[in-house]
């Protein structure tokens, strides 16, 4: 290691030691109102997935990036204190005070571990890849599969804590510490000079052991006796890995520095009040992330590393503004409204004012560079040359054109030449020959000079207020203002790649490249458009703004830090880099920013695809989709920041073989990816912390194909199949049409055949009816039949007996069509041979005949009226009642002779009724059910009562007129808008 490098390391180390001050930094408090389970916390742990587990007396809280989740009774935890959570192999174990050990299963539920004996747990720690557990009954190691006892001389004692360092593991008992030496555990009793001392925790570094006990904090250097540092009841110890020991006690927080304990407290809680708060655990992750578990005030997060602020309390009384800072000979010189300060090793070592020789306390600009022996100062009362102790002042009376000097620059090619600018008097060169002034008459575009720098080729670069940027090559001035949105240029500095950066009063930064300015404004990520300072630290550009904090341009990205990120002021008048840190001077003093270059973790909540919501895992495989599919993901940055700094997210989708550009950072964690083309994509997302910190880049591979019917692999068979299907369909359709036509022709032929058959049946039925009505001297005999739309089974007949008498029959075969026609035919044929028989034997005989014919469910209902000289013998089988009108009495009588229709049952009984029929005007009307059951459009039947009434009404009419009247009754009832549903048949006999 060379001398310079060693020196550098030493400087960095000293600065770090100085700056790792727990009293500085930002704090954030999490209490039950923030969503944690309880303000009474036993332990806080960060797992390998950057999740924070908080063990409380009311369950466990998981802080997972920007999400907080509570685990309690509903998640299987017992109603008792959770004293510790440990993560091993991504399995979470929870130790309870008196209910044993629990672990978190795959269903996000805690299950009691049955591998451990003893519900009272003293401690649980990760020891290597194993879990060490000390309970009332045993001290064991658990490897995730099996338990192993410590053995090898490990004492049967309560273990309160386990200290693990790179080279040793120390088990801490109440009065002893146990370490492994060789294959044996060796117990060392610790003898304190007080009684009833119980060790609670142990820490060892740099050869010093620290014992935290109920009676105080002791230290022990090798081969030396114990030394009491503090009498506080120590509950927790941790260390920043360099020199600061953090001590949590029953009465607040302390840190050990230079052998002395100093108390500190979160900046939102007064130190006095915090001294009532026990601090049960301290988890030092790094200088930017320290967690404190308190018993009563909740959880605290502290960042002592990122930004530390210094103000009047620390010795920087800047008078309200820091105007400039330069590094010179290992120290930083700070120009303020209240003199010049010297800052080194975290301390403001000197403060120069007018009393110490300054021409004015208002120092507007500084310039020097390594290798020269002076710092030049521009003040409100001339310029000054400072050698580290004394000031040599040059004022107006020595030839300086103006008292107020706005800019000063030491020529980089000749340090004996100094350039100054003034508000109204142009540019001035000062050298051994005195002051030489340049003004507008010399070609200077404006006499108002606000800043001066020098390009690599030696040309002066001048901020000319109200004109632009001017380059002076020793001979002439050249103005650049093309593309400059605001000519009120107040700052100039060299940017990367030979560019010139110009800070304007209200239009952001103009970057001069190829003789033209390109503006950078707030919408590009700049904190504010009023630029107050510009600085190039060699790899990044810094812009202090008036009101918007400081912005840094790094790797193509703008980062902006402001008061919400922990800066002491949003007005940043000066920026300078020192030992890897950035010093920012503003109206509230000095902020020192130390970049944390470690990447933080980033993950996603579930990824929503058009097909399903997929759980995100860091090892998830390739997601597939089709062009124009939209994939949604919500990023969750696992970065814990006590300041309210914003996290932004950017993404890009590198298509195979092509590199894409990052998107503009967005505040919303909702990210969507809509692939426009087929191919393999590596979709990358990164989170950006304002404080120049970025997350790991998380990649999600996608394979995007065309929608299946456009993908050549599937489209050819698909569209081929479709075409084939269409072809087959056309062929089938043609065949179908052909067959349909044939079928229709067949059907039409069949219908025609059936209609012809029906017509034949109708004709046959009609043929069975008498062609003419009998004409006798004694009776009017009228038969009538009106067929329904179908061929019904009604019929009537008049048959003359050998004695000249007549038999009238009126029948109704059940069913319709040809079958009923056949029944009628059979009946009529059989009847012809029975005409001489009385009605009852006739019906009996017909019943037997029809049963023999096996006519199925068809039946024959039949009325027989055997007309004698003065009477009618009437019998019926299943027919509606006949109506008899006695002219003598003038009464109409219903004659109902109930009996089963013919063909129903063997031996069915039939009865006969003899009706007197001797008076002129006597009438008998037989009918089928066609008229009484005729339904109009309202589904109302004519009914027997109306029929009877009508006959009574027509009784004085002729038989023909009675028939017509009954037909009229039917027609009137149907009103032309309903059809007769069954045959309607009457037989009317009237005595002349």
């Amino acid at each position: 290691m060379n001398k310079i490098y060693r020196s550098l390391i030493l400087t960095v180390s000293i600065i770090s030691i100085t700056l790792a001050n727990p009293k500085k930094g930002n704090w954030k408090q999490f209490d039950y109102t923030s969503g944690i389970s309880s303000n009474y916390i036993f332990d806080v742990e960060k797992d390998s997935q950057s999740r924070i587990w908080v063990s409380t007396q009311n369950g466990i809280t998981l802080i997972d990036g920007n999400k907080i989740k509570k685990y309690g009774l509903s998640h299987g935890l017992p109603p008792t204190n959770i004293i510790k959570v440990v993560s091993i192999d991504n399995i979470i174990y929870a130790a309870t005070s008196n209910k044993g050990i629990y672990y978190l299963d795959d269903n996000d539920m805690f299950q009691k571990a049955d591998f451990i004996q003893g519900d009272k747990v003293y401690t649980m720690n990760a020891v290597g890849s194993k879990l060490f557990i000390s309970t009332k009954l045993e001290n064991v190691l658990y490897d995730g599969q099996k338990i192993s006892f410590m053995g090898n001389g490990f004492p049967n004692t309560k273990i309160r804590d386990v200290f693990i360092d790179r080279d040793k593991t120390v088990f801490v008992g109440d009065q002893e510490i146990i370490v492994k030496k060789g294959n044996k555990y060796v117990s060392e009793k610790i003898k304190f000079d007080k009684k009833k001392v119980k060790i609670k925790n142990f820490f060892s570094f740099k050869g010093v052991d620290y014992f935290g006990t109920n009676k105080g904090l002791w230290s022990r250097t090798k081969n030396e006796s114990l030394a009491l540092i503090s009498k506080s009841d120590v509950l927790s110890l941790d260390h920043d890995k360099s020199s600061t020991l953090f001590v949590g006690t029953k009465k607040g927080l302390f840190f050990l520095k230079n052998g002395k304990l100093s108390s500190y407290s979160p900046n939102q809680i007064k130190s006095k009040a915090f001294k009532k708060t026990p601090v049960n655990d301290i988890a030092f992750i790094n200088n930017n992330e320290i967690w404190y578990a308190t018993f009563g005030s909740g959880l605290f997060l502290q960042d002592i590393g990122t930004i530390q602020n210094f103000d009047q309390k620390d010795g920087l009384n800047s008078g309200g503004m820091v105007f400039d800072m330069v590094n010179w000979k290992g120290k930083t010189y700070i120009a303020t409204k209240n003199g010049l300060f010297v800052f080194a090793d975290g301390v403001f070592s000197k403060h120069f004012k007018k009393e110490q020789g300054l021409p004015s306390n208002v120092i507007l600009d500084l310039d020097t560079y390594e290798g020269i022996d002076f710092i030049w100062l521009a003040t409100s009362n001339g310029i000054s040359k400072f050698d580290g102790s004394n000031f040599i002042n040059y004022s107006k009376n020595l030839g300086l054109p103006a008292k107020l000097v706005t800019a000063i620059h030491v020529d980089r090619k000749n340090s004996d030449v100094v350039w100054t600018g003034s508000e109204k008097s142009g540019l001035t060169r000062f050298d051994k020959d005195g002051f030489f002034n340049f003004a507008t008459q010399d070609g200077l575009p404006s006499n108002s000079i606000r800043d001066i720098t020098q390009s690599k080729n030696g040309d002066l670069i001048i901020a000319c207020y109200n004109a632009g940027v001017v380059a002076y090559n020793g001979k002439s001035f050249k103005l650049f203002n093309k593309g400059l949105a605001d000519k009120r240029v107040i700052l100039v500095t060299n940017g990367p790649e030979g560019s010139i950066w110009a800070g304007t009063e209200s239009a952001g930064i103009g970057i001069l490249k190829d003789n033209e300015f390109e503006m950078v404004i707030d919408s590009d990520g700049l904190g504010h458009n009023e630029i107050f300072s510009l600085y190039n630290d060699g790899k990044r550009m810094w812009a202090g703004t008036f009101g918007g904090g400081v912005s840094c341009f790094s790797d193509g990205l703008w980062f902006t830090m402001s008061e919400v990120d922990g800066l002491s002021s949003n007005n940043v008048g000066a920026v300078v880099a020192r030992d890897g840190k950035i010093l920012l001077g503003g109206n509230s003093g000095l902020s020192i920013f130390e970049e944390n270059s470690s990447e933080f973790k980033l993950k996603f909540d579930n990824i929503l695809t058009p097909k399903a919501e997929i759980p995100y895992t860091s090892s998830m495989g390739t997601l597939s989709g089709i062009v124009k599919d939209r994939f949604f993901m919500t990023a969750n940055a696992l970065m814990y920041n006590p300041a309210n700094a914003e996290i932004r997210y950017r993404y890009k989708a590198d298509k195979s073989g092509e590199i894409s550009v990052w998107s503009k950072p967005q505040l919303s964690p909702q990210i969507s990816f809509v692939p426009e083309q087929v191919g393999s994509y590596d979709f990358q997302v990164q989170a950006i912390d304002n404080r120049l910190r970025t997350s790991e880049i998380v990649s999600i591979p996608f394979t995007i194909s065309r929608i299946w019917y456009l993908d050549p692999k599937t489209a050819v068979p698909f569209w081929g199949g479709i075409l084939l299907l269409i072809g087959l369909s056309v062929v089938n359709y043609v065949n179908y049409r052909k067959k349909s036509i044939e079928a229709k022709e067949l059907r039409d032929a069949e219908i025609a055949r059936q209609q012809a058959e029906m017509e034949e049946a109708r004709e046959f039925q009609q043929a069975m009816l008498p062609k003419e009505m009998p004409s006798t001297d004694d009776y009017e005999m009228v038969g009538f039949q009106q067929t329904a739309t179908e061929v019904g089974g009604d019929f009537f007949d008049f048959m003359q007996k050998e004695d000249g008498g007549w038999v009238a029959i009126c029948g109704d075969a059940t069913g319709h069509g040809l079958t009923s026609g056949n029944v009628v035919s059979i009946t009529k044929t059989a009847m012809s041979s029975l005409v001489e028989e009385p009605p009852v034997p006739t019906l009996d005989s017909l019943n037997t005949t029809l049963l023999k014919m096996n006519i199925g469910l068809n039946r024959m209902c039949l009325n027989i009226a055997n007309i004698g000289k003065d009477s009618i013998k009437f019998s019926s089988a299943g027919m509606p009642p006949a109506y008899y009108y006695s002219a003598d009495k003038g009464e109409l009588e219903e004659i109902l002779v109930g009996a089963l229709p013919l063909g129903s049952l063997p031996g069915a009984m039939h009865m006969e009724q003899e009706i007197s029929f001797k008076n002129s005007g006597d009438i008998i009307v037989m009918m089928s059910d066609g008229l009484p059951e005729a339904e109009n459009a309202d589904k109302e039947m004519v009914g027997y009562e109306r029929t009877e009434e009508k006959i009574r009404e027509l009784a004085d009419k002729s038989a023909e007129e009675i028939k017509d009247g009954l037909v009229d009754l039917c027609n009137n009832w149907l009103k032309g808008n309903a059809e007769l549903q069954d045959d309607m048949t009457f037989v009317i006999i009237k005595k002349k």
């Binding site: 299943g878 109902l896 109930g898 069954d982």
Partner: protein, 119 residues
């Protein structure tokens, strides 16, 4: 003649079954009733209460079907009971001789009680 569908529901109360007709008992659907009763008879349901409350039409063919059931039911010493029969239908059933082979009741409950009493 109605072409509406006849639906039937059967309530079994051993050895009786109440068959509720909903729709027309005519040429188109009346045979379904034969199938139901022929299925139930072997299961020792021998008394049948046929409820005509929702029966919209009974034509001669429907009555023929009812008649055809008589012999099967009689063979099992069963009874055929009609309930909820309106006046027109009652007249039709009586004139077609069914009064000698079946009983008429106003409702199923009365018919069932009568059956139980007789048994």
């Amino acid at each position: 003649m109605s072409t509406a569908i006849l639906t039937t529901s059967v309530e079994k109360i051993q050895p009786s079954a109440i068959i509720k007709l909903d729709g027309p008992l005519n040429d188109f659907h009346a045979k379904e009733l034969i199938g139901i009763i022929e299925d139930l008879l072997p299961q020792n349901y021998v008394h049948f209460i046929i409820n005509f409350d929702k029966c919209i039409e009974v034509n001669n063919y429907g009555v023929s079907v009812l008649i055809s059931l008589i012999s099967s039911i009689n063979a099992k010493q069963g009874k055929l009971i009609f309930t909820n029969v309106d006046a027109h239908l009652e007249k039709k059933l009586k004139m077609m001789g069914l009064a000698a082979y079946a009983e008429f009741y106003s409702e199923d409950k009365v018919a069932l009680e009568s059956l139980i009493e007789k048994l």
